[in-house]
Point group: C2
Chain length 458, copies 2
Amino acid sequence: MSTTLSRTETYSLLSLALACVGVLANTFQGDGEPLIASIAFSGLAFCSCYALIRWLGQAFMRRGFKGKDMSKLKQHEIPETMGAVCAMVYLFILVFFIPWPFYKDIVAATSGGGNRDVMKDLDAVETGRLLHRFPHNKLASYLSAILSLQSIVLLGIGDDLFDIRWRHKVLIPAIAVIPMLVVYFVDFGVTKMVVPTPLRPYLGELFDLGWLYYVYMALLSIFSSNSINILAGINGIEVAQSLVIAALIVFNDVLYLSPFTPYPHPATDSHLFSLYLLLPFIGVSLALLMHNWYPAKVFVGDTYCYFAGMVFAVDGILGHFSKTLILLLLPQGFNFVYSAPQLFHLVPCPRHRLPHFNARTGLLECSRVEFKKPLARPIAECLKLLHRLRLLDVEVDGEGNVVSSSNFTIINLWLVWFGPMREDRLALGLLGFQTACGLLGLFIRHRMALLVFTQDNW
Amino acid sequence: MSTTLSRTETYSLLSLALACVGVLANTFQGDGEPLIASIAFSGLAFCSCYALIRWLGQAFMRRGFKGKDMSKLKQHEIPETMGAVCAMVYLFILVFFIPWPFYKDIVAATSGGGNRDVMKDLDAVETGRLLHRFPHNKLASYLSAILSLQSIVLLGIGDDLFDIRWRHKVLIPAIAVIPMLVVYFVDFGVTKMVVPTPLRPYLGELFDLGWLYYVYMALLSIFSSNSINILAGINGIEVAQSLVIAALIVFNDVLYLSPFTPYPHPATDSHLFSLYLLLPFIGVSLALLMHNWYPAKVFVGDTYCYFAGMVFAVDGILGHFSKTLILLLLPQGFNFVYSAPQLFHLVPCPRHRLPHFNARTGLLECSRVEFKKPLARPIAECLKLLHRLRLLDVEVDGEGNVVSSSNFTIINLWLVWFGPMREDRLALGLLGFQTACGLLGLFIRHRMALLVFTQDNW
């Protein structure tokens, strides 16, 4: 990878950055529009992330953050852990964005010593739809989100440095989410859930989960981060799946903010909040994807997967749409359940489960695990059943013993279904699947919600 | 260094930790007392930091974070950058502490979607002196402090990893302080300073510094972090000087909170805030000092110096006593001014300016810089003047040319004044000097303030 930007790149990035700065400068006129500012900041995030990935690649390689791409003919070393750059840019953009949605003039005077004497009324601050400004008490939530994201970056870098063991790794997101949970506890503290209609006779209309709600949020962050981390291994898939999920959430947010939705809507704030977190994420991820797409010029590292998963978890929790988020992560969830037999060693798990690169054809083929010791009878029968359901490719010898099978990942399953293909076509196929599942999920969420709840909150 | 805790250590740490947990559990009775909780958390911070430094030392060395102690007969390799462990523990303790000062019951009910409908009155929350709870809008300041500290740790680790150049390094604290400045801008935004009496005819009573106030805060963080980083190089000095400064600020805070001070006092909040940030810092620093004191078993790394300086800067800014902080950093400031001729290459600067270790006597002697090329006339005359003022040790040849001098650091100056001594006696001497200067500074601040201001805010 070149360490400098080409002339075309420099001019394109510069003009995009200048345009964004222009838009930002314009928001100083009149009341300022946080959503417009957020879009401009996302453009700036894209530009700076794109340039920094180029400039810092060599420094990362010198310090040992490098790896070889197993699925290529020529295996150059390329920079690893570039997701950390992406995350740092994102965090700084979120910080710089603060003055737009959270207006400073709420404090009008002070007697010194940190006391506020005159406060403006909330109504004087919230002015119209796109000009919407948050009440000041949302600032703490926003800052706690940044804190949790920064924590996951710190811990992710720690993981990339010290190679933490797998079973400890899984818990990293649960540690990083603590700042947000603590602030949620002191700042909001609502742990009640709306009960689905069929269960209302038993549980009432609202059910207070109490501390279990915090466990739920921690589990959500573990699930979100790790499920993205598990669906990985081919060029671009980590970043691109995150982008698809982010785009779907943005689509859902926009449904609540569009001119067709009655205003003021109780969930407007939450979905604006969600957009402010996601738009810059899309900016930095696009810049990373352009370097990580087939053929990859950089690797993203575990840091990126943790970080992306945490962005979604934080967004879902503070935007109050955690159930929708779970719907959007269904393909990842399926991949996790599907991987479970190997992850929990019911079936032997080889060191790598990446698809096999066939150097002759240049295509990826599904990788296989050989069973040197015969499998226990019930497990072997399950594998045969999966084979019949076309959910696995199992090889059986003359005596009916299972001797090998495809590895248990959705990536290999895709290759079982559609045969060998080039790395980018494989990634595109999986992304199409992710998009289709997500759109279906959103459709179900908004159309079918009335079957189990008395009203859709849209 | 042993990687495990001895039996005595284990039992001592365990019993201290249990006592702290007991105290914490007690604060759940009745209204809870944040200051007591803060002290208990600081105890927990000490225990966990002490144990983690032991447990993680080997892992750090394996990943290349290690160094040799130049001032010892036997130069084993020992872990480096242990300040990062210290900082991580500190940050998590600050997060866990949040529910104590910031009470959750302020939000009593919600209509969903993140809106608060019923709020309790502030008076119902603030109850008495030690039971003092912060109004909820201070939470944003507190979180921004944590964010800035976490940023400096991230950037500090980046520095330790990538060996950033000296002139870029200096600016790291200014980048890390940005989150706090942005939140200060939206959350408080007061940039007026009280004008000293002699200047009032020209400037009025209050002078609005405007954006210069933000520059001032950024400069304060640069000064605070780097001045601690420059006064370094012998076992324990980085941590111990930070402890002395922290103790002096705590002493100053207690002056405002003691039963002799009239209550309610406008600065009570600020000084409680300051205590909450400093007590856990003292906890983790003590644990680090016990490993870093002569003969050092670990090194602290630049990360610690940045981190400690940032704690003071954040504390001074949010506690509204930045001028007092500058008074307490005077010895560091003197060291910086004194070092300037070498730092800015007016006089040659050797790679290392540590005191010279005399292996025969086991004592440290002041290290010297040889001037191979003759110095410019005015500079040579200045050095001779400094020699006459006993502020430098200069060697002159028969023709009156300066051929060598002691290095320009306060550590070497101390050795010039008091002759060779063992490393720990040198550190103790410098710490005594720091303490004396600090106490004098506080005395001046409270006794002499009336000469330039119409009233002491105490």
